[in-house]
């Protein structure tokens, strides 16, 4: 993407928001010196994970995620479920839907309640069960009070695959699918935070996607050309990244994007676009036009893909741009810049 924006003297919150500032930070500070992986996918690709070739048509896929979420337990899940699903999903987005195993490192703040820890680990076990994987090693640290905000989890996952799907395989004419409703996790978390004083029924969508993706890959075969999970930065950031890396424009049919009524309502109230906030149980899938119907049917046949929809199409014009068609006209879909702040009125 080659984002040459200037990195400031202090790393502020915007560098973790999943948008252009974060990509610039990775490119300019983290990635230099760690080049490409011959015949695979390395850090320079800035994909959801890495793919190391280990034989003819055989790759080891590896990914790692650090998780901090406030509050640690939220409607629809908790930080444990989030940690497992985030890693399983990143592997799946690379085409690796059979996670061999995960590792989990836990950093806790002095005084963290045992009961909450047990609850979080129960949901880690449950999520591993759903994804068909397990935790094989880990690490534990306890920090002094005030040195950490309660709990941080870091998970690493490994899987083998015979086909790697990147986030840069789009070509003009390809269709863009989403596997379900957008914005559920991000708005559920925002609404849970006390300062909004908002009572809602919003529930996070956090779920392991490997089973769903397996079905899509089986139906679409080589017609599935790009995948990404729209986590931080939401659908907007995922599409920007896919468009930029693939060198295509994406025309998004905004009316086709599934959004729950309560998510839309909370978004309007807070002045926050559901397309800019995180999902933790959804995928964006790019497919060749001929495979679109097959993949859509396969997704909808899975419990996590009932609301799947074709939401856009790739074009040769305006590479790197995401153009939203609203039904009234068209506009560019921007990415979230920095913290999402509420509007005044």
């Amino acid at each position: 993407m080659n984002d040459r924006r200037h990195i400031e003297e202090r790393i502020t919150l915007k560098y973790g928001a999943g948008g252009g500032a974060m990509r610039a930070l990775i490119e300019q500070i983290f990635a230099p010196g760690f080049g490409e992986v011959a015949g695979g996918v390395g850090l320079a690709a800035m994909d959801d994970g890495a793919a190391l070739p280990i034989g003819p048509d055989r790759w080891l896929v590896i990914t790692t995620d650090a998780h901090v979420v406030q509050p640690a337990v939220f409607p629809g899940g908790d930080i444990g479920r989030l940690a497992v699903c985030g890693t399983v999903n990143d592997l799946a987005m690379m085409g690796a839907t059979e996670p061999l195993a995960l590792t989990c490192a836990a950093i806790l703040e002095d005084g963290f309640p045992r009961s909450e820890l047990e609850q979080i680990w129960a949901s880690i076990r449950a999520a591993c069960g759903e994804a068909g994987t397990t935790i094989v090693t880990g690490d534990t640290k306890v920090m002094r009070r005030g040195e950490l905000d309660r709990i941080a989890l870091t998970t690493t996952g490994v899987a083998l695959t015979s086909r790697v799907v990147t986030d840069r395989g789009l070509a003009p004419g390809d269709r863009i699918l989403v596997t379900g409703t957008m914005g559920d996790h991000g708005l559920a978390i925002l609404a849970t935070r006390g300062e909004l004083a908002l009572e809602t029924q919003l529930v996070s969508d956090v779920a392991p996607l490997n089973g769903l993706v397996r079905r899509a890959l089986a139906a679409g075969g080589d017609g599935v050309v790009a995948m990404k999970d729209p986590t931080r930065g939401g659908l907007a950031s995922a599409l920007h990244e896919m468009a930029g890396k693939s060198g295509v424009g994406i025309v998004l049919d905004e009316r086709a994007v599934p959004v729950r009524d309560e998510v839309r309502a909370a978004g309007e109230l807070l002045g926050i676009d559901p397309l800019l906030v995180a999902n933790e149980g959804k995928a964006v899938i790019g497919v060749r036009a001929a495979a679109a119907d097959r993949v859509l049917d396969a997704l909808r046949s899975h419990p996590l893909g009932r609301q799947a929809a074709v939401v856009g199409e790739c074009v040769a014009e305006r590479p790197g741009s995401v153009i939203a068609d609203t039904g009234f006209g068209r506009r560019l879909l921007g990415e979230a810049e920095g913290e999402l702040l509420p509007r005044i009125c």
């Binding site: 009524d261 036009a289 939203a324 068609d325 039904g327 009234f328 068209r330 921007g334 009125c345």
Partner: protein, 378 residues
């Protein structure tokens, strides 16, 4: 789950297309082009950009955004007062949009990064709650008469003694006079903000119409509201009989919300003051009446703005064209800083800060790129 935005009554693209065609026919029948109209509300620009409505406007009609963003017109000295208070160690609560508005020596966000206590709140009541602990909390209040009513309601409901208000509230009707009287103004009609008119009533514009002989249409914020409002406005221009028309009757009455008005004027009085980038606007500022001096941060605290002035204003600010952009004379693309030195990440002018600011909206939604020509294969 519903598709966006079709299911909602006032976002129906089919009816939108019919209104857009009606608008085009009426605009063309004026027989001269372009005809300029102005809206004076950031929420209108937000909806226009959000739904890509400019693509649906006829070329014969130039819809200009006026000084309708309360954050953008908050003047530098007002921001300086808040920053000075924050640096003096007073806890400040304000709307999220106000955080990054640059003053003489940085913004509230900069002050926060240096250790000042600045809280983002969703409303004035939340700020008053913060003060219940006994700690001094100053609510830096921005917004037009709609938002000012909320501030008034809290001040009338026995707020804690440690709570006070630094008012940057502004009053819209006088600035319409300023814009209408600007030399070379080519504005032939105004689209007025439906939410403000819910409070003031549409009758508040009658005197303006009589004086300036330009029509005013009060419109809501859904795409169909805006299109219908513009159709009505062009009809009034064609008829040559300036009057006020209410295109938002499901919310707005002639007299407005009398109870809210009573509270507004019980707490606030009008004062002249500068609007950032625009002009000195007589009666353009809403300030606390003397009876509320106990909650007036300007009377409660010694605000040492002079201490900020050691920091020379950044040279870039001199090139900022926010004022001309808000007056509808220039567009963001006329500004050399737009998208280069001035971005939402590092704003130079206030228009790049607020989600209602023209520059921020253009930066986010791409201004007026002609995206109609891009064809899909299918």
């Amino acid at each position: 789950v519903s598709a966006l935005p079709g299911k909602l009554e006032f976002r129906d693209p089919v009816r939108g297309a019919a209104l857009a065609e009606a608008l085009a026919i009426r605009a063309r029948s004026l027989g001269r082009a372009p005809v300029s109209v102005m809206h004076v509300c950031g929420s209108h620009e937000q909806a226009i950009a959000r739904f890509g409505l400019r693509a649906a406007f006829p070329a014969e009609l130039d819809v200009i955004m006026g000084p309708g963003c309360p954050v953008c017109v908050t003047d530098v000295p007002e921001v300086d007062e808040a920053v000075a208070l924050a640096r003096q160690g007073v806890r400040i609560a304000t709307y999220g949009d106000m955080l990054r508005v640059p003053g003489t020596a940085g913004s509230l966000a900069d002050a926060r990064a240096r250790g000042a206590r600045v809280d983002v709140v969703y409303g004035v009541a939340q700020a008053a709650e913060l003060a219940r602990s006994g700690e001094q909390v100053v609510f830096f209040a921005s917004g037009f008469e709609t938002t000012a009513v909320a501030t008034a309601a809290v001040l009338l409901a026995d707020p804690p003694p440690s709570f006070s208000v630094l008012s940057a509230h502004k009053y819209i009707p006088p600035v319409m006079e300023i814009v209408a009287e600007m030399p070379g103004s080519k504005i032939e009609g105004f689209l007025a903000a439906g939410h403000a008119a819910t409070i003031t009533g549409w009758g508040v514009f009658e005197r303006f119409v009589a004086r300036h002989r330009v029509p005013v249409v009060v419109a809501g914020f859904e795409p169909l509201d805006i299109l219908a409002g513009l159709v009505r406005l062009v009809e009034l221009i064609a008829a040559g009989e300036p009057k006020v028309d209410n295109a938002f009757p499901r919310c707005v009455t002639r007299d407005g919300n009398l109870a809210a008005q009573a509270r507004l004027w019980q707490v606030f009085e009008l004062q002249g003051g500068r609007w950032r980038g625009i002009a000195h606007v007589p009666n353009g500022n809403l300030r606390l009446r003397d009876e509320f001096a106990a909650w007036d941060a300007r009377k409660r605290f010694q605000i040492d703005v002079a201490a900020l002035c050691d920091h020379a204003p950044a040279a870039l600010v001199a090139q900022c064209q926010c004022g001309d952009i808000m007056a509808g004379i220039a567009s963001p693309h006329d500004c050399a800083l737009f998208g280069r030195e001035c971005t939402p990440d590092a704003p130079v002018g206030a228009c790049m800060v607020s989600s209602e600011g023209t520059c921020k909206i253009w930066h986010q939604y791409g201004g007026h790129p002609d995206l109609r020509q891009i064809r899909r294969r299918a």
